[in-house]
Symmetry: C2
């Protein structure tokens, strides 16, 4: 089972995710995520690993499942959005396909909609989700997508907007958006959405870089209809009120 | 409170959503959604209305909240994705702004990631969410977005892919995708994702119209990397396994 815990607060974890963890013989996950469920790990076999050890975690899980164990690979958010679901399925279906392992993906609330809820209602129109991490996707391809999203007047949700290794991608992304979007386009910056110490900033494309952005942040960039109403970021759906 | 129940099965509803409904004095919602939570409505004031009565529902909720009542406006999925969050915020912040009403949006698992989980792991790369309903958005604008999503090699999730009023939009969308996507591009069709009688079809752009598609269906169209592995739809994230 590849299990999404949602944004972080237990009150946003689906009962199906908690049941999966309780049912599993072994829990596999990145340390930071396992800390979110420490209370559920009592008397469990736990395999914890560091960041960027996705392949190790997936292989450990597949090996244990081959032995007949029920394994839960745990992450925050939705494991099907840039998460562990892909690598686990690839590995199991391509390299362990003689082992008769069944994989179930248990979805969770993903950062895009957790951040949107914190901001108001920015995702009432068509939107694009783009990760600015170029660890596994060429930066040129990401830039092409940013431009296509601008051309299509999509609302855009940026995952992994900034890290020490790529501090300037967010600047370039902003410049590309400015080819198609007004500088006054509302921008929402949410840190730790629905995860304890939530921080919400509502700004615009012109000013957005004057605010702190890091790996725990989700950035939502409006479309041509998005507006700020009493401090909430809203893209009107188009009803005549 | 604008509350998302997630895809439909209670095991995918966040505890925060259930708590909101239990706390509220009044529950407002479209009949079909209220049926999902019948057991929670005992001894509650309930305002139920038909489809396309979004403005009536939002006004009823705002009126009741003005009187000091705690109101939960309930829907399936995430109310921040084409849902009731926008209209409630617009109405409250623009027309009831002297009433001191506080609006909280409680996110849920949206159809895009519920359907993705049923299919495998198609959303491992950047993706676009597009509704084919032109009730509130001009069809020309939707077509522009479909083309932009094709240009950007996004995975695309189609909401409201077909209804009696617009049976052919899905055909046109498919034609536009074929300008940029290979006919063999994997397509997943999920009906009632994580909602009881889930039906999953994995096909491709060439063949997709030979399968039933309706308003309860979510359609996921792959990008240039998406493949079908042992009956699962997977967009490899790019790890070297």
């Amino acid at each position: 089972m590849v299990v999404g815990l949602g944004p972080g607060d237990r009150s946003y974890s689906a009962p199906a995710a908690i049941t999966a963890i309780e049912t599993a013989d072994v829990i596999v996950g990145y340390k930071t995520y396992l800390n979110l469920i420490e209370d559920l790990l009592v008397n469990k076999e736990v395999i914890s690993s560091g960041m960027r050890k996705e392949i190790d975690r997936a292989k450990a899980a597949a090996d244990l499942a081959s032995e007949g164990k029920c394994v839960a690979v745990v992450s925050s958010g939705d494991p099907g959005v840039y998460g562990m679901a892909g690598i686990v399925l690839e590995l199991v279906e391509e390299q362990y396909n003689d082992k008769n392992i069944e994989v179930e993906v248990i979805p969770g609330i993903t950062a895009a909609t957790a951040a949107a809820a914190a901001l108001g209602a920015p995702l009432m129109h068509d939107f694009a989700v783009i990760s600015l991490s170029d660890l596994l996707t060429p930066w040129t391809k990401i830039m092409t997508r940013i431009e296509a999203a601008g051309l299509g007047d999509f609302i855009v949700v940026l995952y992994n907007p900034k890290s020490h290794g790529r501090p300037n991608h967010i600047n370039t992304a902003r410049e590309i958006f400015l080819w198609h979007k007004d500088p006054m386009t509302p921008v929402g910056i949410v840190r730790n959405a629905k995860r304890g110490e939530e921080e919400v900033i509502i700004t615009n494309l012109k000013e957005m870089l004057n605010h702190p952005i890091d790996m725990l942040t989700t950035v939502v960039i409006g479309n041509s209809q998005t507006k700020i109403i009493n401090g909430k970021m809203v893209t009107p759906r188009g009803y005549q009120l």
